[in-house]
Structure formats: C-alpha cells, structure tokens
Symmetry: C2
Subunit: 134 residues, 2 copies
Amino acid sequence: MGEAPILRIDLGSGVPAYEQIVAQLRALLVAGKLPAGERLPPVRQLAIDLGVHHNTVALAYRELAEEGWLELRRGRGATVVERRERRPDAQARTEFSRRLEALVAKAAADGLSPEAVAKEFDALARKLWKGKKR
Amino acid sequence: MGEAPILRIDLGSGVPAYEQIVAQLRALLVAGKLPAGERLPPVRQLAIDLGVHHNTVALAYRELAEEGWLELRRGRGATVVERRERRPDAQARTEFSRRLEALVAKAAADGLSPEAVAKEFDALARKLWKGKKR
DNA sequence: GACTATTGTACACATACATTGTACATTTGT
DNA sequence: ACAAATGTACAATGTATGTGTACAATAGTC
C-alpha cells in the first residue's frame, strides 16, 4: 500500500539530520537505486516524511548537488543526473582510512566481535556494489 | 631520539578535535597498545603536542573514562585500567551498521574501488585485532 | 609538616554549527 | 494572467565546540 519509506533518520543519534539525509541518499545513489533522470521528492514533502524542516532537506540536496549527483532548479525540483566517475585522491584515501579505524575501534569497544564486524562489512559490500560495474 | 608522536589530529577535518583524540586513543586501547597500568600524558602536555587547549584533551579523557578505559584523579593523572568486556546491544549493532554504510558509500562516491576498500578493511582488522584474543 | 609544582575539574565566555520561521524567486500548469 | 509548486535566502534561536582562567586535590621537596 503506502510507499516504502525512502529514508529514516534518527534524531538524537548525534549525527546532524541533514548529514543523515545526505549519507542515506548517497548510499542509494552509489548503489544505483536512484538512476539518472529520477526525481527526488520536493524538499517540503521529504521534510514532512522525516519530521524536519524543509530547509534541512534543502541543505542536504545542495550538498549532493555540489557532489555532482543532483541538479536543483527552482520550481522544477531535484533530479538525479549522470555523474562522472571520480578519481580518488590521497585526501579521500587517508580520510576514509582514519574514519574506518575510528568506527571499527568503536565497534570493538562496544563488544562486537571481529567476525560480526567482518560479516556486516560483507553484507554491505554486496548491497552497495551489487549489480554495479566491477 | 624524539618520542613517537602518540597522536595526530587534523584541524579542519570537520571532526571535532576532542572526538579525534577519543577515537585514536580508543583504537590504541582496543589494540592493546595501552595496557592497564599505563599512564597517559597529562592533559596540558598532550594539549601542547596536539596544538589544542588542555580542556579539549580533558574532555576526551573524560569520555574515555566514562567508557571504562581510564581512571582520572586530580593531581595523579590518567591511568589505563582493566576493562570488562562489553556485551554488544542492538543499539550498538544498528549504529555501527548505519555508520559503516555511510562511510563506505562516501568512499565509493570518492572513487575508491571495492577492492581498495576491502583491502583497507583487512589491513585495519589485522592492526586492531593482532595479538588479541579471538 | 609547610610549600610548591603538577594534574584534573569547573565555569564563564566566544564562536561556529544545526535547525527553524518566514519571505522571496523561478518554473509549471490551468 | 494567475495560482500553485518548488528551491533559495536570510535572520533568529538553540546547541556544540573550543578557549581563558581560576580552583581542588595529589605528589614531591625541604
């Protein structure tokens, strides 16, 4: 019946709402679930669904537009566009490395076993890169 | 000659300084490189090394103390203590899952290949769990 | 034992960030 | 031409982050 809830954000997670929106949309975009040409919901609509202000959604959209995923136009809405593949730079690599270490260390501190962490990682890799180019 | 630089924080990385300190110390603690009984540098000393205010370091120490890694006492300093293994709860699992997805999606968006990401992950797992209990 | 240095803590302040309220600009549809 | 829909701009507010400064507790020294 109802639409599948596109996104779900967790207030009180410490992570800013607009960052959660960016992160989840980016994951969908990377996984190819939002192909070029697709229209995203209007900022006001998504804002209501998520329980935040429309400017918060707008900020998220703008960040994704900066990153090359979306085209934003007044009165027309947000559209997914074709995006050129990026060449990773050193900055991106070290930043990823640092954050991954922090995240996994936190998981270990919380008691997650190496096996549980590895399993989670595998499941995610399949999810994100399933049906995409190798 | 000089001591190995224990930590290195990156201002302008977006991540708050005190969080970077917490994350890096936590990684060392998880990896067993700071065994119980070890003394951490005084907040003012570490603050100078890192180029931040000593209250910023103090905040990081307090967070790790809350987490059960350190004992803090006025005049005596910060000491690593024996810490009971945690049982992971659902909250920790879903939080880890969400953040991992966000992080890996970001890496993919930046152009890192699945192989590069997996490789980074392997190296990290070895680093964090090397010589620790299975 | 008194004094001083060392060390973590408390608290007020400044600045930046995140979110919201409100109004505006642009496009679409009738 | 008009109204509705949609993204944008900007001020206001609350929270987080970092700092300056003073305080409290412990350790070292004579």
